[in-house]
Amino acid sequence: MALTMAAIPWGVMAILLPLAGAMACFLSPRRASPLGLITALGVVACAAGLGWQVAEQGAQRYAIGGWGAPLGIDLYADGLSLLMLMVTAVVGLGISVYSSGYFNREKAVNFWPLWMFLWSALNALFLSADIFNLYVTLELLGLAAVALVALAGGADALTGAMRYLLVSLLGSLAYLLGVALLYHSFGCLDIALLAERMEPSPAVMAAMGLMSAGLLLKTALFPLHFWLPPAHASAPAPVSALLSALVVKASFYILLRLWLDVFPVTAAGLGQLLGLLGAAAVLWGGLQALRQTRLKMLIAYSTVAQLGYLFLAFPLGSNVAWQGALYLLLSHALAKAAMFMAAGNILCFGGHDRIADLDRVAQRLPLSLAAFGLAGVSIMGLPPSGGFIAKWLLLEAAMRSGQWWWVIILILGGLLAAAYVFKVIGYAFTQAVMTHEARAVPATMEWAALVLALVAILLGLVAPWPLALMEIGLPFGGEAAG
């Protein structure tokens, strides 16, 4: 049994299965929803299989078609890619369950194939071992994401999608130009080979600047975040959830990989700059979130703030800091998906998402509000949530390296997050001036949100396990960096 388990290339399956699922959903639109759910379960199984394989046998490398690294395309799974793949699987399953209740038949026909394509692109991105393949998966991801935003219809969603598409293409072209320069300098695309041959030169610096700028634009780091709130807030609820939880993380993942493996470590100044921008994002995103009158816009600005935390690891650069950033990424993915789903339930229930008119949502949608509150606990970074562990690790890294000023940012960001989460919860308990008729929300949608929020909390309780997984294949360069 164990032998057959080990013989199956789980990583390849995790890419091919959603691709096949997308085709099946497209060809058989009437059964799109059940087909999509079955595929989602299959992908979760693949992620679990890969997890077992990586935990048992260490980092996995798979040469597609047997060509091998310099010419062919390799897939590579270490602890970092495995955790990204796993959180995508958990959030993806939640989103799939939620979507089966959310979309009417007409929209579901378009949603499922696109979502499955997006999932396939995400998995391929996390497993890619060469920088050009990363470009292709980044584009696949971007195109599917834009189409999903446009799915909502209406002027807001369409212009949001259009702006998102232009930004996304600009980001990938800058990245591709960087790829061209790197290939010219070293004659290879494979990340491991690049890391071996790397020598600082003006061309490498230019490539580093171009690729970082493109990826920062796609990750929506302040001040390049302008496209994110309209796109994420105007999309349908499950799409907002998967954009905020997963899609922005994909470009951050590439940046992290390049920064850890490819680029020379001499760029300390650039690390400080990224940290400063991250700090500005935390404060600016938090303040903007507090100012919003619409729930989905508030959550979208909260994403801008939370993305800022990820960049606080760059000036610290130690093993603990990277772990903290990755932990924040995981817990934010779960919590933010839960938050957007809860907001979707509230929107579906009352027909609007004006925060001031939430009108006793606490009594009428207790599960959704509980999901929002629990996700909020993780976003604020209160114990025992995943967000708490992440901030604790970042705090520890900041204190250890003597850069105490990042600690102030962490605390201020947490206070701002508490303020905007409690603003929503406060209105949810009070009666609004205007009452409105309510629509029933399917139980699956409420539970999907609640379960994801619970997993985000649970992530704080099982911390040693993901932290051990992160170390497989030493993506952060081992203990020596600490």
């Binding site: 002027a155 807001d156 999608a161 259009m162 702006r163 598409l165 130009l177 061209a180 290939y183 807030a233």
Partner: protein, 102 residues
């Protein structure tokens, strides 16, 4: 090596020109064209840098990358044009409105 350098420089110029056009023009069709010009610039750089040494056969890998890139660019342009048509049908203008959703 100088003509290779010239091609690469022209490619970078196209990229910059496209970036400028993308920022200054408001009409969506012009923005989409600007993205395409930028893409062509990147492809030109890739093809130019494929020439390793004078007289030697060029490196085929960048050519494969350009072909893949063209496929991506065509699909992205198709999606962008379709979206533009929908934006125009919905708002009456093929522009990105400046006012943000409240």
């Amino acid at each position: 090596m100088s003509h290779v350098f010239l091609y690469a420089l022209v490619g970078t110029g196209l990229f910059t020109l496209g970036l400028y056009a993308l920022i200054v023009h408001t009409h969506l069709l012009r923005k989409i064209l600007a993205i395409n010009v930028m893409g062509s610039g990147v492809f030109l750089v890739l093809v130019a840098l494929a020439a390793r040494a004078r007289g030697a056969a060029p490196d085929p890998v960048p050519h494969a990358m350009v072909i893949t890139g063209i496929v991506v660019a065509v699909s992205a342009t198709a999606l962008a044009l379709a979206l533009m048509v929908r934006v125009r049908a919905e708002t009456g203008r093929a522009e990105l409105s400046e006012e943000r959703p409240e």
